[in-house]
Symmetry: C2
């Protein structure tokens, strides 16, 4: 088992402990899943879903609202209806273009120690992305601001189990035309992890990629040669790709940056009520989008996103971390392995507060996605309320849950020392191991020490005011932000970023396109 | 997918819905795990742990405090030290006696529709067992009483996902000499599920078995021919079997009733700090106890219990649902398959309240034990605070978590109807599936409908007073008890039970022995 750095202080010192050591758990920087994936489908069933999605693409087709994208499809050999804008793609084309998808992608960070590999048995975790709201126990739920965005970047930077940044909350107080500048600058300055760029039109994308390029001090050629940031494109399910989505696929393919294509296939709403049907549709949409990127730039780095879940059929409300989500997550992993493409899934829940429901739905997602072969776990930390809120406390709980999985992935070494027959002999019948040499040699690093879980006995916990996990996670989040120090950045680089942002701001920024 | 009975009412009607339909989910009565187990050890590593445990039994030995049990071991060929009471058992003896352990056991209930099979790919769930305390949101934590015991039997009877009864809480208000009569009568009268009997001495065991026999109206011969109740024997780790434990093993083997042998190997305390070492010791203790039963009565029904977890090394407090627990649970399943013996594990957590920690630690346990091949999940519903408290609300949350796993186990059917190409064609690009015939035919039973999870949007939930999962579970528990009706029992059988209990009460009951 690898050498670990543990937090000091322990139980009694938990509230006062130095959180800097939490961040220094460098064995969380690169996660590898040693387990064979849990599979829910036979090989024939995987093939049946694949064939159904080819039938969808060939016979029903996908509506493409972006003229240039339709041109790309047409030039590659797809049938484009000029009136309905429906694109029909033959199975042979799909197989050809999927063959150029790289099975693994190097994710290059400005701090090379943060760089990592996407795909294979590797697991990377991204923080929560996309919510309009933010919440914490002190101030409740409120619309996201630039300060909240920066605080969530600080949270993501503080825990090594989080590998990728994300559009953690929408900074609604920042004018739309400047928002992309604000969030890309914040990621580049407050963190040295892999940044996210929203594909919201040519102008915004170009600005954001330029900030990332400056932060990483890459030449334009170097920049194009390796993934240095990523975006997520959600299809408008069912079977539609709108203008900014297509533009994003094209821009990211041309820039050689990572594009995660994730259909939003909620079974019973935007997809069939049966999971097999929802997966066939998810797969058709994913293949269409991934192939568009490969038609633009063969070998462009991409990732297959599975997000199939179900709705509450009584209300239409989306549900997450359900049994149906588990099934879809396991099956999506099998589809990705069928295509040898990195697999993105998510740590989701539909709870309105970081309670038991939030935790058990998240665990349904974490176990099924990671044990199903997920390579990129989006919304890894901080997602609440079906993605409508970024929760600081849920962020901390998720870190604890994910660190526990990382520990499970270290495996169970079996050798003479670990089998401990000498210790068992020394202690004998009816004794205890607290004082055994074998124990004393290992006790400080033998077990995972959680950051939220409270293992005090009831009486001590009662005297301490009965803090539940929500309250304890709140303390950890406050301490984490208090202790935060941004990673080093050269003054000249900082000035170059700021001068670019100032210039683009003076020029009026860029509006999103749709 | 099997026909399901769903609760009516849905989201808006959740608080008022008729819970009787919750209990009528007959597809939860028999659970089968369709997944291949997650394995953390290679075959060689399993063998290394097995060999280490044989070395422990041959060279270090196990201390047996019960004279008759030592006699059994000696007659079977083990070496017994008359002074130290240490028994050394050769590997050949272990292999011989483990060979007579039945790989599956029929669990016979007084309602034959409740009978089930233990072992193989079958999963059976038992309610929480053993806590001295009980808690609910209204009255807090308090010492258990006879009424609490009966209420927990009612809870266990009310949900089909719970298959076995348990010593759900210690009824501390019932005099010790009568307690076994009280709890066995309560299980026999308020439930028709598989009952638990504490092995606390010859007299108590005989009384309890007799009540079970009467309730099942079995002749003494029929009673001995099939498992009609079960007990759990925990070794005094490390490497010690005390008097009542040995007596229980012998009594249950002679009676042909199910005995679950579970060493209590907390790594770092009663077992080595390394998980491999703790497993070697667990395995040695389990093999010693299981073989004792087979020496007494070859073919007696038994189950191998894995309970290895770790302690908080700062305080010595037991920890549950940890990464170390997960590793041990996965490995224990592999050991059980090595011996072809049913595998018991547990749904555990160390939280003091049914919060996010309780849920995520439980999910660590549920996923690892069930996906690790567990056949009998003890403490399946209601365990809190490391087993010191039976929580009514946690009971309900656990039911929801376990029902979700049962749904996952139904698999993901893939055929023409499920692939839904006609529906995808009908809805077309950019539409929605709410009104599709394919959806309308299936919507009422398509998805799992939870009993605790709240999927209302934030605004509706806010107006409803922001109930968290703890509060909602409280409502479900209160409604469940209000709606409870005991299963039918013939008047003559009831009278026979009562007359036996009255006679034994008049005779002074029986004290536990130790």
């Amino acid at each position: 088992m690898a050498q670990r750095t543990r937090r000091s202080g322990g139980r009694s010192g938990r509230q006062q402990s130095d959180l800097s050591t939490v961040r220094n758990t460098s064995h969380y920087r690169r996660l590898r899943n040693p387990f064979g994936p849990i599979e829910i489908l036979s090989a024939d069933e995987v093939e049946a879903i694949h064939q159904a999605s080819l039938t969808i693409l060939e016979e029903i087709g996908i509506k493409v609202l972006h003229a240039a994208a339709r041109g790309v499809y047409q030039r590659a050999g797809a049938l484009v209806d000029p009136e309905t804008h429906i694109v029909r793609i033959g199975g042979d084309l799909i197989e050809t273009f999927m063959a150029s998808v790289p099975p693994t992608v190097s994710l290059h960070c400005r701090n090379l120690e943060r760089s990592l590999e996407l795909g294979g048995r590797n697991i990377a975790v991204a923080a929560v992305g996309g919510p309009p709201n933010v919440s914490d126990r002190e101030r409740g739920r409120r619309p996201g601001t630039g300060k909240d965005f920066r605080d969530l970047v600080r949270m993501a930077q503080s825990f090594d189990i989080v590998h990728l940044l994300s559009p953690s909350v929408e900074p609604l107080d920042v004018e739309l035309r400047f928002r992309h500048l604000e969030v890309t600058r914040a990621q580049s300055v407050l963190s040295d992890k892999f940044p996210f760029v929203f594909a919201r039109g040519v102008g915004q994308t170009a600005d954001a990629l330029e900030i990332v390029r400056i932060a990483q001090q890459a030449s334009p050629e170097d920049f194009a040669s390796e993934a240095r940031c990523y975006t997520v494109i959600n299809a408008n399910s069912p079977l539609q790709l709108d203008v900014p989505m297509c533009q994003g696929i094209i821009d990211f393919a041309n820039a050689g940056q990572l594009m995660v294509l994730t259909p939003f296939t909620l079974a019973g709403a935007m997809a069939p009520v049966t999971i097999a049907g929802a997966l066939a549709q998810q797969n058709a949409e994913a293949l269409a989008g991934l192939c568009l990127s490969q038609m633009v730039n063969p070998g462009a780095p991409v990732c297959y996103g599975g997000f199939t879940s179900n709705v509450d059929m009584k209300s239409g409300a989306p549900a997450f971390g359900t049994p149906e989500y588990v099934k879809a997550a396991l099956a999506s992993g099998q589809l990705c392995r069928r295509y040898n493409v990195p697999y993105r899934s998510s740590n989701v829940n539909a709870s309105n507060t970081p309670d038991a429901q939030a935790a058990y739905e998240s665990q349904m997602a974490i176990w099924s996605t990671l044990m199903g072969g997920c390579n990129l776990l989006m919304h890894g930390a901080g997602w609440l309320e079906g993605g409508l809120t970024a929760s600081f406390e849920k962020f901390v709980m998720d870190v604890d849950m994910l660190q526990m999985m990382a520990e499970v992935f270290t495996g169970l070494p079996v050798d003479t020392k670990e089998l401990a027959l000498d210790a068992i002999r020394e202690v004998g019948q009816g004794g205890h191991f607290f004082g055994a040499a074998h124990t004393l040699d290992r006790y400080s690093s033998a077990f995972y020490e959680p950051i939220v879980s409270d293992w005090r006995n009831y009486e001590t916990w009662d005297e301490a005011g009965r803090p539940d996990a929500y309250e304890r996670a709140h303390s950890v989040y406050k301490q984490t932000l208090e202790a935060f120090e941004p990673p080093p950045i050269e003054q000249a680089v900082l000035e170059e970023i700021d001068s670019f942002v100032e210039r683009r701001t003076a020029e009026g920024g860029a509006l999103p396109e749709s």
